[in-house]
Amino acid sequence: MNMQTGMKLSVAEMALCEAYDHAVGELPGDAAVLTARDGLISEFKAGGLPTRRIEDWHYTDLKALLRTLPDRAPVASAARVEPLVEGSTVLSVENGLVAGDFSLPGVEVRALAETLADGSAAAGLSARNRDDLIGKINGAFVRGGFALDVPAGAALEKPIELQTVQNGGQTHARFPVAFGAGSTATVIERHLALGEGAAFVTTLSDVTLDDNADVTWIILQAQGVTDTHFGQVRIRLGAGSKLRLYVVNAGGKLVRQEVHVEVAGEEADFILRGINLLGGDTHNDLTFTAAHNVPHTTSSEIIRNVVFDRAHGVFQGQICVAQDAQKTDAKMSCNTLLLSDDADFSAKPELEIFADDVQCGHGATVIDIDHTQLFYLMARGIPENRARAMLVNAFVAEIVEELEDEPLVEALEAVIDRWLEKHA
């Protein structure tokens, strides 16, 4: 092994390096892709897993949290499941691989392996910065996934569901999706485990919206209680485009979902809604950065966290407004219901502002259930535990209802209900 520094590697770091040595021979890709993969793994070796001294990972000390990795191979076969919303077109990655036929009328779809083999995916295999662990790992190991090209002006009526489903083992998938000018679509990115043995999953979605595209993108993470899931979305928004991104975390043992948005075109509008349902021994980290680089753009982020049992929750959000980005309107809020004394939640909502004619703000609260509301419900005869459940549900349901897409709202509400029934 090529040790670039004198640093001693941890068990998990060694396991990752070894996994790469074993996998590299069978990973798809031309020479350019291979060079990119090698580069990323040596960057990883140099830095290792991030600790809390790395500001981006302040509350998720991976060196301490990620002790071991499951074997690369899955423990059992995995097959696609029914889509979240009936009638969606499912593109699935099963145990890390694209299986069977796929097609999507009106959209150009290629298996990621193909774009790796012909080298067209090489440019995307890069880390965002020195501390971009997910970019490094995913780029080095990626195998399955789909590259989608939605043509300009296309109006997709049915949702597209990008599914990763596995039964243990290691899965690294990627979804480069380009929305052409003026196109409209709904995409559901859904990650789930079939529940046999621990899995280590990384996913990376590279989403670009051309001018005036209007997209709803849902990420639903429902991995198993022993799984590690690292997800990243990189987003670039063109002029006048609009993206509604929903991140729903309802599973996993060690989870980090990153959202990085570059608001690059004037009049672009970005909306992030996060729902983190945390129970058991979960460590869940939602990390978000928005770069407003041009004038007249808006973004709004609302994160709602419900924390039970011994769960640890983290939200890091950073809004950066460049000097030229006058008239930016950016609002971020993070609200947490902390429902157990053994649980904790940490939030770091940052503003970094270099333009003066802006309206930016953030709010963060950590609260218990509102006693006035609880009293009101009980005064109407609703027993205390039922009343509490209603209020917890309302706290997150409020966010979902904004979607105004009935089948989608119902599907997400069902996910939330089921989760709360199990944990509340």
């Binding site: 006693h371 006035t372 509301q373 009293f375 009101y376 419900l377 009980m378 005064a379 109407r380 005869g381 609703i382 027993p383 205390e384 039922r386 009343a387 209603m390 209020l391 549900n393 309302a394 706290f395 997150v396 349901a397 409020e398 209802e401």
Partner: protein, 251 residues
């Protein structure tokens, strides 16, 4: 129906005594008005009756149908038929009004050993009651009390009262923030609920509401005690002469 004996109560957090030896009896079928100047303990009394934990009863007893309710939590009291129409109805974003009504009605039925309502039966009842109170369906689709005007909130309280069919209704300053038309609608709703087996306690600062909900008895609350009781003419006296005389007499 309601018997309050030598009640003393204070704010749990800082120990401030608000109710200081209050005695009050309200019979079934009766409409009792409780009046008094600001800070006399009117709203506190309504919270104590419905079991709000911010207040501590230090002495005395509250009997409801001969039984002490001090140990019951708010939902148990509600299931027994005690209803408080809040002065400031609470907004609960994310909880749809319809969903809330259904859960409340069925939980109370469950607690009394009755069957849950079927959805069509529930819908029928809500529609009827809403129509009586001139409440639009669109309002019921909104989250509970969120974005309701002052008048809409008060009407929604009365809607809940008629659906839940309580035995002891406590109306806390239900007239505040209402214009005259809304006041009439609310009063009609309350009057429709008057019956021999039901008692209504109307807490109000002004006599105005009592023109529409005519009380059988009027009690004046001052510094946490009932200092004078009488019939409806007492309310008119108060309107004409203010509280000063009565307070002077009591002192």
């Amino acid at each position: 129906m309601l018997e309050i004996k030598n009640l003393h109560a204070r704010i749990a957090e800082d120990g401030t005594e608000i109710i200081r030896g209050l005695n009050l009896t309200v019979k079934a079928g009766e409409v009792a008005a409780i009046m008094g100047p600001n800070g006399s303990g009117k709203s506190t009394l309504s919270y104590i009756l419905s079991g709000r934990e911010d207040y501590e009863v230090t002495e005395g007893e509250i009997l409801y149908n001969g039984e002490s309710i001090l140990e019951l939590d708010p939902s148990e009291r509600a299931a027994k038929g005690i209803f408080l129409a809040f002065q400031y109805p609470v907004e609960i974003p994310g909880v749809a009004t319809m969903q809330f009504l259904k859960v409340a009605m069925n939980e109370q039925r469950k607690a009394r050993g009755e069957d849950e309502l079927t959805t069509p039966e529930f819908m029928r009842r809500v529609k009827e009651a809403a129509a009586e109170l001139k409440i639009e369906q669109s309002m019921l689709r909104r989250p509970l009390n969120v974005g309701f005007s002052g008048g809409e909130k008060k009407r929604a309280e009365i809607l809940q009262m008629s659906l839940l069919e309580p035995k002891l209704c406590i109306l806390d300053e239900t007239d505040s923030g209402l214009d005259i038309d809304a006041l009439k609608i609310v009063a009609d709703g309350v009057n429709a609920l008057r019956s021999p087996d039901r008692a209504i306690v109307v807490i109000t600062h002004y006599q105005r509401l009592l023109d529409y909900i005519v009380p059988d008895a009027v009690h004046v609350l001052y510094k946490g005690q009932v200092i004078k009781s009488g019939d409806k003419t007492l309310a008119h006296d108060l309107e004409a002469n203010g509280y000063a005389d009565i307070i002077g007499d009591a002192a």
